[in-house]
Symmetry: C2
């Protein structure tokens, strides 16, 4: 994938979540980006590392996670093409969590230096990126609620609905199915439950005819039931720049 396609994905994303002017687009199109391929299940930036670049997903699925002393891992967010999962490293230089790929991925890297200069030059773009990191934080808040207050089946439903919502925006959730390339182990890590329990919950949703989940792909069987179970209110995604 040429770096032009990556820029296009970013612009598309920013167009949705923030207001973007033609001048901004030109600035972004002039950004030097280094493209690299990563295999599946590979760390991109490690916890404790000092990042010098921000990473833009051109293709593939990534997750952010933290591992505690006991060895347990918590997945904090799932990322899809067009997103910049480690924009925060721009001002929080040493990573407090890990970014890794789920599937084979194409990532674009933009140096912190370049971005910092860009911000000084165009405060509008800085604000757009700032807003992006704030939406990130809003998603963390909802993730806390999910893990803290909802029963396990609702947690899974919520993650599915959120992911589908975001995939729709980039045109990757047509019909009633979409990709969610996590193993049951990883689903457990995302929901704060064990893999065994994740399996139970998946089976339950299948038996109740709500969703089918196999080989990293979700098929929605009963839209109504899914939405009711997920208790989903997309306001926290802040998809309209005017709100």
């Amino acid at each position: 994938m040429p770096s032009d396609a990556i820029r296009a994905a970013l612009v598309k994303r920013l167009r949705i979540s923030s207001g973007i002017t033609d001048d901004d687009v030109k600035e972004i199109e002039a950004l030097p980006i280094v493209v690299r391929q990563f295999p599946a299940e590979t760390p991109v930036v490690r916890d404790g590392e000092r990042a010098t670049d921000c990473c833009l997903i051109a293709d593939g699925f990534c997750v952010r996670s933290k591992t505690i002393a006991s060895g347990k891992r918590q997945i904090l967010s799932i990322h899809i093409p067009g997103e910049i999962p480690d924009l925060m490293s721009l001002f929080l230089h040493v990573m407090d969590h890990e970014l890794s790929t789920l599937t084979p991925s194409t990532l674009g890297f933009i140096s912190h230096e370049t971005l910092q200069k860009l911000h000084r030059r165009s405060p509008g773009i800085a604000e757009m990126f700032w807003r992006d990191t704030l939406i990130d934080a809003a998603m963390f808040r909802e993730w806390i609620v999910n893990v803290g207050q909802r029963p396990a089946p609702a947690r899974l439903a919520h993650v599915m609905v959120e992911l589908r919502e975001r995939l729709k925006l980039i045109g990757r959730a047509e019909g009633n199915s979409f990709d969610m390339p996590l193993t049951q182990e990883q689903i457990g890590e995302a929901l704060g439950i064990t893999a065994v329990h994740a399996n139970r919950v998946i089976r339950q949703l299948r038996q109740e005819g709500i969703v089918e989940l196999q080989r990293g792909r979700v098929t929605v069987l009963d839209e109504r039931k899914l939405l009711e179970l997920a208790d989903f209110d997309g306001r926290y995604l802040h998809q309209s720049p005017m709100l």
Copy 2:
């Protein structure tokens, strides 16, 4: 409390988490701030509301929370004097969660308009505030891990140690005790457990001689055991501006 004292608290805080220049201090000291008193247990900004100001805690404890359809509430963060708990509203205009007081509080309000102008004028201050919102997000990430992966006693210990760490920075955690003005109900809401279970966990920590908790005040009985249980690594607080 005069608004000068509030400004001083803010400057003190920014001095710790970011590099702040003398010019920045002057700018902040010139900021128009409206001071208001709030009783305990009172909403300051409600979920779904459109905020026009950012709120600075001069005195008192506040929390941010989200309530789901079933009526369950999740506390997302605890805030102490010197912090700006709703800085995010600057770019995420409609609130996706609630900010409310725990104790009677003195809050200072700065209008979004004022802040936006300030950012355009001094990008350095903008970056400082941006960094502040990023630390906020880092704390959410750790909160996810706490609620998702740690057993209940460790969750409580972790929240206590984090709060103490932050209180130390503003000189409000001398000796082996500090304020944590949450009811057991609220502790449950913070940890993602019920009030009854929160009580069990508190009793357990008391019986094991780790901490005593009464009337909103924590007394540490066994520092070693507490730290071990909490599994605390303060890196996520990003306290040094150089890191």
